[in-house]
């Protein structure tokens, strides 16, 4: 009797040895709700004022389709370029000591700090047809400013620090004995990098890639200057949304916004899943 009574007393749920679980989780949900979910909810709500046909027409018009293609395409190119060269920069910063290293290190963060419109103006000045790089490229028939290539360039610029700063600390903390172990086992330098260093960096590289990609999708300031904003050719989705708003087509703008939202969220989910796969077995 006594025992049964004792057993029926519900155990108070406790957050293990780490206190504050309930409070912290509650705060997190509230904070994210207010900051992220509320405006997104409003976005979806606004878009839903359109009829289904209206919504489909707004998000599948030729101008919208071209903008998606450019936005996702150029962002992907930018993130890929960064994923390729960012680790090289991170490697140099993590592995070598040389004069001016601190300066170079600070330079990497500049795209974070610079107002992106400034970056856009600067890039345009350099790459436009009479800019000091653009005029030489023009001789080869290459146009960067006011072309999709310019968009990709601007998006590469804004995304660079994400990859470098994700990879650099992992590279710095990488146990040098790993590479020595590979060398003693007979692996040359190239193979050691390919079989030991890169796999160790891969999860961080994926994070950097995802951040760079996400940042590029939302980028506006630097692109509007260099792209020329020609509908169907060099118009990115954020700009199209602004254009729609300027035409007082708020519902149309939010409809495109909802598509971007869905697509971005899906992509980030896929990248997170990839990352979980890459980390499989590494952590208990």
């Amino acid at each position: 009797m006594m025992e049964a009574a004792l057993r029926s007393v519900p155990l108070r749920r406790r957050g293990g040895v780490l206190p504050g679980y309930g409070l912290a989780l509650g705060f997190t949900v509230l904070y994210l709700g207010l900051l992220v979910l509320l405006p997104l909810g409003a976005l979806v709500l606004k878009a839903s004022t359109l009829s289904w046909e209206g919504f489909v027409a707004a998000v599948t018009g030729p101008r919208a389709l071209a903008a998606y293609r450019l936005s996702f395409g150029a962002s992907l190119v930018g993130a890929l370029v960064n994923a390729l060269f960012g680790p090289v920069v991170a490697w140099v910063l993590a592995r070598y000591d040389f004069p001016g290293k601190a300066l170079l290190d600070a330079l990497v963060d500049l795209p974070f700090a610079l107002p992106t419109s400034v970056a856009g103006i600067a890039l345009t000045a350099v790459y436009s047809q009479n800019g000091w790089l653009g005029q030489h490229l023009a001789k080869w028939g290459l146009q960067v400013a006011f072309a999709p290539a310019g968009v990709a360039l601007a998006l590469t610029f804004v995304g660079l620090p994400f990859v470098v700063r994700s990879v650099q600390p992992v590279l710095q903390d990488l146990d040098p004995h790993l590479e020595e172990a590979a060398a003693v086992l007979g692996a040359g330098r190239l193979r050691t990098v390919a079989w030991v260093v890169l796999p160790a960096l891969f999860p961080a590289l994926l994070t950097g890639f995802a951040l760079s990609f996400a940042r590029a999708l939302g980028e506006y300031g630097s692109v509007v200057f260099i792209s020329g904003n020609m509908p169907l050719r060099t118009e990115i989705v954020p700009l199209l949304i602004v254009t729609r708003l300027e035409q007082y087509d708020e519902a149309g703008a939010t409809a495109i916004g909802v598509v971007m939202l869905g697509a971005s969220f899906l992509l980030l989910l896929v990248i997170n899943a990839l990352q979980a796969r890459a980390l499989r077995g590494r952590k208990r």
Partner: protein, 352 residues
């Protein structure tokens, strides 16, 4: 499959003295040779130079008689076990053990067979598909051994292989390593600061201190006949007694011992006396000779540790069987007669 190191010197930029200086020794084929010394004695530097992970500033390293001082680590045919395991976390146990074979282009089938063989050798059958993070420290270390042995190295180099493990696992793995060596007979160099580990595992011990070799000998030789005061104090516990020579005898705080041959009168000496090499008796039974008072007495299982206060201010630590003490009927505070069964004396100028 022997290793010979001749006059090896390695300086690190900014270091006050060389990490290794004029180090020479020969590690015979098929045996375990321990490089023993306190941290900072240069033993790891020497091991890394043998593996090719550290460049020698001067001197020669030969493996099986072949000079490989300038050979890259990839071609030396050595296996290396790192203190912190250095396992590839993104690869399974199988992938780790097979790494060296994969580098050599061994076919998948052959590789699998060899990996299975090694997993059996290190008693990790059935763990092949696990990741290193899913293993205990002792298991991880055994994977590191298997990985190093997979390519049939000419020499196995072990850098403090058990230092990161707790005592119980360390003792287990030590016994396991003994068995492993009896099965493989691969020439092994073991770096350790743990004298017990060195004395138990190694047929030959190279004692290092401050970048230099202080003594090379069998484990019994370095224990029983230490060449320098450093070796005497580092290997095994020892009481240190200071005194001087008088008429061919060394007077040490009430004890007198034979002075080292040729030591002049008045020369300062110190003597190293191991705690189990002190003999005690009831003072009344040996009224002549040196006396002391038992100032402390600690029982540890079936043995006893005594602190003896000598006539001078020196104290002498003594270990003996508890039964022996009981037979003598001695307790704390009593006067005892002290005899030294064995001691090693060094004349002071000979410091090193």
């Amino acid at each position: 499959m022997s290793v010979t190191v001749e006059h090896l010197t390695r300086r690190f930029p900014g270091g006050s003295h060389p990490a290794a200086e004029d180090v020479s020794f020969h590690a015979p084929a098929g045996a375990v040779t321990a490089l023993l010394g306190p941290s900072g004695s240069g033993k790891t530097t020497v091991l890394r130079a043998i593996a090719g992970l550290e460049e020698a500033d001067a001197g020669r390293v030969s493996i099986c008689g072949e000079d490989c001082t300038r050979m890259p680590p990839q071609r030396r045919g050595v296996g290396f076990v790192f203190q912190g395991y250095a396992l590839f976390e993104h690869l399974t146990v199988r992938g780790n053990v097979g790494f060296g074979l994969r580098v050599r282009g061994v076919s998948r089938k052959e590789r699998d067979a060899r990996v299975d063989e090694l997993l059996e050798l290190v008693q990790l059958q059935g763990y092949g598909e696990r990741y290193p993070s899913q293993l205990s420290g002792g298991q991880r270390q055994r994977v590191a051994f298997a990985r190093a042995l997979a390519t049939r190295p000419r020499v196995l180099l072990l850098d403090e292989p058990f230092a990161a493990l707790d005592t119980r696992v360390r003792v287990e793995l030590r016994a396991w390593l003994r068995e492993l060596h009896e099965q493989t007979h691969v020439t092994t160099l073991l770096v350790t600061h743990d004298q017990e580990e060195a004395l138990e595992l190694a047929q030959q011990v190279v004692v290092m201190h401050e970048g230099r070799v202080r003594q090379v000998g069998t484990s019994l030789e370095v224990y029983d006949r230490p060449a320098t005061p450093f070796v005497a104090s580092f290997i095994g516990n020892a009481n240190v007694l200071r005194g001087h020579v008088q008429g061919g005898r060394a007077a040490l705080g009430g004890l007198t011992l034979d002075a080292p041959g040729g030591a002049p009168d008045g020369a300062r000496v110190h003597a190293f006396v191991r705690p189990h090499e002190v003999r005690i008796a009831r003072a009344v039974e040996e009224p002549s000779g040196a006396h002391a008072v038992i100032s402390a007495l600690t029982r540890v299982g079936d043995s006893v540790k005594l602190s003896l206060q000598l006539a001078g201010r020196d104290t002498l630590m003594v270990h003996m069987a508890h039964a022996e003490l009981e037979a003598l009927g001695l307790t704390q505070g009593e006067r005892v007669a002290v005899g030294i069964r064995n001691a090693r004396l060094f004349v002071e100028e000979h410091a090193g």
